[in-house]
Symmetry: C2
Subunit: 605 residues, 2 copies
């Protein structure tokens, strides 16, 4: 088993660790310390050694922050984690506050005493975030102070796990589709347009993509932790822990890439006097900006220059994604067959559901890792958006309830992410009504055609409108970008009500995952990945339009569809999708599954 069902932190963490952190703070003359969830690499999923927020508070969600003061403390989470934080964190020690509404700055403004000094680790904060935090502290008459060492790390001490050191290996051209030298030349040339001569690249996914390498430093993503400096001519310095450099790596990287140890980075930056260097404030911490400023470099604040080229998958990556999804769809169909037969009778618990699905994926022989811990939410657990089943929380399936399963896999040729919601026993009319509305939104976002320049914010509403019309909504984004054997959540494109200016371009992969959640009742989500297609003429039209090709291939539970709520167009679209699933996946599954699939994919008349 790759997935563990143990709690990685618990309510005792705060009471045990907060005094240690406060002691270390006091020794460094600090009245407070800021603890974001992000680590030195702005990772979403953290190596255990960098999950400082969990160690300090017990909270294991993927976003959040804490402010630890001498006599009080607060933890900040967003709406997704409103329930989880109450379960994991000792609320006698930590006041729970909203990460988005007001957030940390509003707290600092009211909670800090005049004259107090609050420390922060400059490697853990973006320069923009720090500016807002500093302004808020100033309004309270307090100030922020960069500290090194990090007092939390000192408090953690010997108990802290080692930094990861998984081997970094080549990612072959048959999967990458473009040689690193070509990528570096192409991105290098783009630096001039941004007014820069060189770029500091620190996002692990960017490092992996640019050099066609993969690592194992972060759970669930084949990311190598490191940094790089890319020059306009495409040459580069790659900073990697020598312990991680696999034998064939130097030859793979070639002559135009110099390998150096990470402790050589500060001196390299210090030599940048007078040079125009691009740094992405959303990806690189304040530490880089401070270091380069002190060195006398001219900083060009701009988006990571690999972000868009990486997001636009090339033809080899798109074809890889198709193959990965056929493979994954076959494993998933075996799983859905099991849920629809044995599990309906045996009513196993969520852990068994997770084990089964992992087993089918493992049996493909191609599984490199899960792309995230499988969410299997039975009945009311399905309504907890970022639920992860553990020994402590797992439920058994119940007849007359729904099972929500959100899962994904890392294969060499692609990353998958799929959610299906399955009726256990007979669903209620309410469940079918909600499911069908979610399905209507999902189908609308799958079939929409749109002109070049359209952003994901402009499409988000299509997935929500059928819920809105019924006085319903869901409190998460509709779609995120997905990497190619990389992170399962990657930008810069996304489909969200949050305004963003990134146009969807051919080759970009996004998820399409509207949902509905009835707290204490059930959860519904339907998620496919889809790739933006090339602009194509439409008969009788004047302007070529982009659109989506659906990658994910697995049946959608027909028993949950109320066809009276579907238009003819929607019904035809659902039937066509199921026909495609049957045609493509049918031949890849054992006979009993194939037989079941025929029924599961039969057209709704």
């Amino acid at each position: 088993m790759r997935q563990s069902f143990d709690d990685t932190a618990d309510r005792s963490y705060g009471p045990r660790h907060l005094p240690l952190i406060r002691k270390a703070m006091a020794e460094q003359g600090l009245d407070g310390f800021l603890t974001p969830h992000e680590d030195e690499h702005q990772n979403e999923y953290l190596p255990a050694a960098n999950d400082r927020l969990a160690w300090a508070t017990g909270f294991t969600g993927s976003a959040g922050a804490a402010v630890i003061l001498k006599d009080k403390a607060a933890i900040f989470v967003d709406g997704r984690y409103a329930l989880q934080v109450l379960d994991q964190v000792d609320t006698g020690l930590f006041e729970v506050r909203d990460l988005v509404e007001g957030g940390v700055p509003a707290y600092l403004e009211t909670a800090l005493d005049r004259g107090s000094v609050v420390g922060y680790d400059p490697k853990l904060h973006s320069p923009d975030a720090l500016e807002r935090l500093s302004a808020a502290a100033a309004r309270a008459g307090a100030r922020l102070k960069p500290v090194d060492p990090n007092p939390l790390d000192r408090a953690w001490g010997a108990e802290r796990p080692a930094q990861p050191a998984a081997a970094v290996v080549p990612h072959p051209l048959e999967f990458a589709g473009e040689a690193s030298a070509d990528k570096r030349r192409r991105v290098g040339e783009s630096l001039g347009k941004a007014g820069a001569e060189a770029a500091v690249i620190t996002a692990p996914a960017s490092i992996a993509w640019l050099f066609n390498i993969r690592g194992g430093d972060v759970i669930r993503s084949p990311l190598p932790l490191g940094q790089a400096i890319l020059e306009e001519d495409g040459s580069a310095i790659l900073f990697l822990d020598p312990a991680k450099v696999s034998e064939d790596l130097p030859a793979w990287l070639g002559n135009s890439v110099t390998l150096q140890a990470p402790d050589a980075l500060p001196a390299v930056l210090d030599a940048f006097k007078g040079r125009r260097v691009l740094v992405d404030p959303a990806q690189s911490s304040a530490w880089y900006f401070e270091r380069l400023r002190h060195a006398g470099a001219e900083i060009v604040r701009a988006q990571d220059p690999t972000a868009l080229p990486r997001a636009r998958k090339n033809a080899v990556e798109v074809e890889g994604a198709r193959q990965a999804h056929i493979r994954d769809g076959a494993a998933l169909s075996r799983f859905l067959h099991w849920v629809s037969s044995e599990a309906q009778a045996g009513l196993p618990d969520e852990l068994e559901v997770v084990r089964k699905l992992e087993g089918f994926r493992e049996a493909t022989g191609a599984l490199k890792d899960l792309s995230f811990d499988t969410i299997a939410g039975a009945a009311s657990n399905g309504a907890i958006v970022h639920y992860r089943p553990t020994h402590r929380l797992a439920k058994k399936l119940e007849t007359g309830s729904l099972l929500l399963v959100d899962s994904g896999a890392q294969y060499l040729d692609g990353t998958t992410d799929v959610t299906r919601t399955i009726a256990i026993g007979e669903p209620t009319p309410e469940m079918r009504d909600r499911f069908t509305r979610v399905l209507k939104g999902h189908l609308a976002l799958a079939r929409v055609r749109f002109p070049a320049g359209t952003t994901g914010s402009a499409l988000d509403g299509f997935a929500r409108a059928p819920l809105w019309a019924a006085g319903l909504d869901y409190d998460h984004g509709t779609g995120h970008g997905v990497g190619s054997y990389l992170g399962v959540h990657e930008g810069p494109q996304r489909i969200s009500k949050v305004p963003n200016s990134v146009a969807l371009e051919p080759g970009m992969i996004v998820s399409n995952e509207p949902g509905y959640y009835k707290t204490g009742g059930f959860g519904i989500r339907i998620e496919n990945l889809q790739v933006v297609t090339e602009p194509a003429e439409i008969e009788g039209g004047e302007r070529p339009m982009l659109g989506f090709e659906t990658l994910t291939l697995a049946p959608i539970d027909r028993r949950l569809v109320d066809k009276s709520l579907l238009t003819r167009e929607e019904l035809a679209q659902l039937n066509a999708y199921h026909a495609r699933v049957l045609a493509v996946v049918g031949p890849k599954v054992p006979a009993d599954v194939a037989e079941w699939l025929e029924g599961a994919c039969a057209p709704i008349a």
Copy 2:
């Protein structure tokens, strides 16, 4: 007649005026001069005295810019004006460039010689725009220099019209709905939250709203040109030309408003040392920022604090808008009746169409002004989005073509803006197909329900999707905000594919105006104004949803509707709208019009 059909500028303007401007530039030691369309008040519609771009180039569009160098010049317009600029401007003198793609900065970067000095009038540029322009000039090794006097104004000399000086009059409470003192107290209190003690207000619409006054300085909008300084306690200084101050104005403004002449403003700003002053960089020119910086004020860059309160119409203003639209809908119905009867036979020209419509509005006895020059575009003229009929350009109506009429009125109780497209003779199947797709988008945006926090960018796609699906689109925004007896184009809300973060709130009025344009053929646009409604429960739902109440009441040409393209929901929605038009407007029109209206509003079965 209020509307004139004369050309206000022509192709001879460039050849006649460019040498004069270059001479004035040379006398001031300048190698170039920047000429934006905007004036000192960032107006959209300009007093003749401030339409510098038209005087320099001949171009009369509502957005644009020119760069005049010693030996070359360029004019910048957006896609709306791509055709018009070729008609109005001598392209032997002015290179035509895109205002959006690259725009002025890209031109400066390539066109300026090293060491050259380009002048600008700091009262005509926003600080953000200037920053981009300065950076571009610097990349070319040139520099920008603020100049006073403006060399173009010197060149214009005695030929320049006088500055407007229309009387500024009270806007009574029965229309404004909230006393100025209450508005000022409310907005004043909000300054503290933005970290300011006072605000500089320069947008004419903000001045008008905040003090409940109206003026006549700008054609088509009852705007008073002036400036104000608002204090946290709600007291204010209002800078108005004494010649414009009507007799009863001082008493109307009350004791907490000090009236001063505009030439007193610089000295008032100079005394702001150490004070925290809010200024909106989108509304107030670089001149204010420079002046305050020199004075030692602490500038708080933030949105004009009246922008949102002004956009959220109060109950009196919303009821006023309803009444204005009933009155306007009756005038418009008389006009549509005329188009559908006499005009179909007589085939008059566009000027007669404009005269007729203005006549019906004038006959209401309540017309204060048009809200903009009526666009009556027959046949191919309808495809020119910002067309205005003139003696030179006007066409006669043609059988088998479409007539697009976009018009609006200023009444004391509200501002209207409505577009109808009418078949002249028998429409072609293509016209009906396109019209019905535009209608589907219009209906979708009229019926959508959405949660609090939703922006206009998130709704824009609903109006476009039926066109997108057919490979079609339109190159303008879908909706703009509208004032209450104020500007017909007012922010901050809008419905557009351009990302914006302004949530739609109850009381905001927006237009809903998708279109389709076949160059050289015909133009289609369907425009109603609609007001955002209070959040309301939906039966069976969980979250209250906002929505729209349609204000505009006039029939949509049924002969252009291809009902086979409409869903049952869309058909029911159109029929319900027509039933409402008939019920509300029918009793307000003469008998022959009422009889015609019955047919025009009859349900489509």
